[in-house]
Amino acid sequence: MLTLPPFEYHAPTSVEEAVALLGAHPGAKLIAGGTDILPNMKHRLLSPAHLVGLKAVRGLSDMKEEDGCLRLGAMLTIAELAKSPRVRTLFPSLSRAAEQIAGPQLREMGTLGGNLCLDTRCIYFNQTHFWRKALGFCLKKDGTVCHVVKGGTRCVAAASNDTAPVLMTLGATVRLAGPAGGRELPIGELYVADGVANTVLRPDELVVELRLPVPEGRVLAGFQKLRVRASIDFPLLSVALAAKVEADGRVDWLRLAVTALGARPHSLGGLERFAGRRLDEPLIAELGRLAQKQCHPLGNIDVEPQWRRQMLPVLVRRALAEALTVPA
């Protein structure tokens, strides 16, 4: 039996009211589907005195096409994303990622906004208070050392949200609301390489919407995920890939993003070199090697880092194969 720490609950009905509540109660946290924050609170990884519920806020569950973008409200559930024919047609890799998040009940409950703001995960952190205390705690909470990187001064708990890498390859932007109005960021800029808090969200800001530019021309996209139990587990490694291909089969641009390694989802650099080439065997092999060179799995997840490293080029290959089979 895991009880929740005590808190006061607020149910705003508008974004402005939610922002005001966050401002009025320093340390307050948002709760959307609750599938991440509630287990974390049960483990006493956080004990906010105030929870601001987003379920009654109007207008956060919309999905609409406007100005060449598909706009997705932060409170859309993962199940709604996974089942949406529109998402499937326009952004198949996002569909594929959504349908592989957690299990069926959690997908009904969990939201897009919650997924983007998911707390980072680590085997030395996602444990009960008793367990963490026995180990002497760690940098992310209550302690002074890191058990993953000996002597490390920066937490490297893993960004584990499966939608983030996909959205990075699709050129999405995220819309935030705050006391001074709003701001919009490319999704990659939402994240920073700090496992303690890996987003640039201020305490009184919230994610309201995601904007995905509807692709022009032929954009191929794939998503692959490594996990122990394909039915429910968090990713050990997720790979998202997208490429715009010209009519003659040559690559215009290629993007690859990887998650569940370090504190933020990582967009591979140096992919301009593939412009003008074909999506053939030499390219796949080169891309796999490049991914291995740029990504360094750590002991922050309960499986061999070496296995995750070896699986990188395999998932890159599979993601590309999947991208090529989905009709553009």
Partner: protein
Amino acid sequence: MRERPAKVVVRLEVNGDRHQLAVEPRTTLLEALRYELGLTGSKQGCDKGDCGACTVLVDGRPVLSCLTLAIEAEGRRITTIEGLAKGGKVHPVQDAFDLSGALQCGFCQPGMMLSAAALLERTPKPTRREIKEALSGNLCRCTGYKQIIDAVELASAQRALPERDERPTTGASREG
């Protein structure tokens, strides 16, 4: 020590009955069901979203009551295992689990049956793959998955048949 927040009044509609409870805001739907309403059919397994033993239907959709705040379940239609039988008649899924011997210790069973009932509501004739997918958030530590999947197939086949004697007594397909 932080001051305990005041209790709040929560109105819940469970299995068609309306209840008013005074609970702390931190009370989960599972705790409200089990410890306030005495509905202990929903099981407290892991209590953190891993096992599905606490599955209930909220507006017909299977969710985990251990990760749902009671206060956020207000105004929703909640169905627990206690509400699956209607008018003194067991639900076809319950009947089929019985006929198929789809339980060992039984701890996973209420959650399994609710996930299965929700599946048959939206997909009356699921494939074996769809059944597995729908039950993939419900763990059985006794690992009796085969009989469970058989039972859902059987329930799907017999939903139209009125009397027990007329019903087939084994699952249609036997592959794992």
